[in-house]
Assembly symmetry: C2
């Protein structure tokens, strides 16, 4: 498997960043700039307070602003998307709210095949209840509990940067097909069995198994990687 | 091993963010705000263009700005630091320049024990050659090659956010003692030997070993985690 630039490009191309009623003109310019820093280019603005200051602040990302699609409603902005992610600071009853770090691999995997939108609300009160109903799911960006409110442009910046970085680090987007949780759980059972057969039992504490879980949890195993590990531990189990 | 809040707090407390001659007042306020979003509080400003707009933009992070130490030179700002990291867009001859993602675990591990500074240069041309000489090492933030220049506040924001997130994800900062590269390389050799003994050879291609490398590369193994994996594969090798 080797790096596929066209796969990365497809993911980026399939993601639209939607700003709902951004009120501070400079924020819109800063968003355009950080989109361009991180290779994104699809910007949709719903009733924006866009003016000369936005263009001034955008610097060399002026083209992103010039090509931005201006919409009258969120409904219109997400019309062509197969999946819509809302962003929120609050947990709400009517939508699942995920930690952004946890949902990132799934988000990137979705964008490999389908058009998706990531929607950011207005500076002062985010997305309305009605607007959240256009979102299939929602996520929050982890922050200090005492001051969790990021500036709008930072929220956009963190999201775009993390996706950009994720795509840079994944060697092959083709393997972005992530392992299912149940298969990973089965892998842990394989590993545990091998350890027991290896008479590793005396040294292996529940802490050791937690450590193994933690290593693999951090790494977001793809389906192919998981298969390889599984076959190794199955072979080891037979020999032991 | 369990999460130690005091360890996290110590890392954050030991990190100072230094802005050298920031020219745009709003940028200074945005930096203060994102520091507070991500639990940071040590801000040092070298000859800043600080005014009312900075305080206005900082919102509820006004206290960070009020407590910020104003210095006349970078030398004065980094006086108490054991280790100084500079940020740059350019690779330079007179300092090692790392990818921020790669240097992050080492940076966090340093800050567990000693005071460190992370230095950001002015908006238009970064840090001067003379200022870079006060930095022990330097890093860049990955970006689109065609437009790699982040707004100053974004650079600060990405760095603070990534450290914050890293500390949230590491279960125990006490285990932040990272495995050495040579030990990780020895681990790969162990794994390869086990695979050969398991007669896994026919299935195991150089691609499979690359996959294993990639999994562990992504996960930033700590010394303890590496030891556990090593002992498992050594036991498997003896049995196979």
């Amino acid at each position: 498997m080797c790096v596929s630039t066209s796969d990365k490009e497809r993911v980026i191309k399939n993601i639209s960043i939607v700003l709902v009623s951004p009120q501070v003109p400079e924020n819109i310019g800063l968003c355009a700039r950080v989109l361009k820093n991180t290779s994104f280019f699809n910007l949709l603005l719903v009733n924006p307070n866009l003016n000369g200051k936005s263009f001034e602040v955008s610097k060399r990302a002026r083209d992103i602003l010039e090509k931005a699609k201006i919409c009258k409603s969120l409904k219109e902005a997400v019309r062509d998307s197969h999946f819509v992610f809302g962003t929120t600071r609050r947990k709400r009853e009517y939508a699942s709210v995920y930690n952004f770090g946890g949902i990132l691999p799934m988000l990137a995997a979705s964008a490999r095949k389908k058009k998706i939108s990531i929607v950011f609300g207005r500076e002062d009160f985010g997305l309305s209840k009605e607007e959240m109903e256009y979102c299939d799911s929602a996520f929050y960006i982890p922050a200090d509990q005492k001051f969790a409110s990021y500036n709008l442009a930072f929220s956009v910046g963190i999201v775009c940067y993390k996706i950009f970085e994720y795509l840079e680090n994944i060697s092959s987007i083709s393997s972005l097909s992530l392992a299912k949780n149940k298969d990973i759980e089965a892998l842990y059972i394989n590993i545990e069995n091998v350890l027991k057969k290896l008479k590793f039992k005396s040294n292996i504490t529940s802490g050791s198994l937690s450590t193994i879980r933690r290593i693999f949890k951090r790494t977001h195993l793809t389906r192919n990687e998981m298969k390889l590990l599984k076959s190794i531990f199955l072979a080891a189990g037979k020999k032991a």
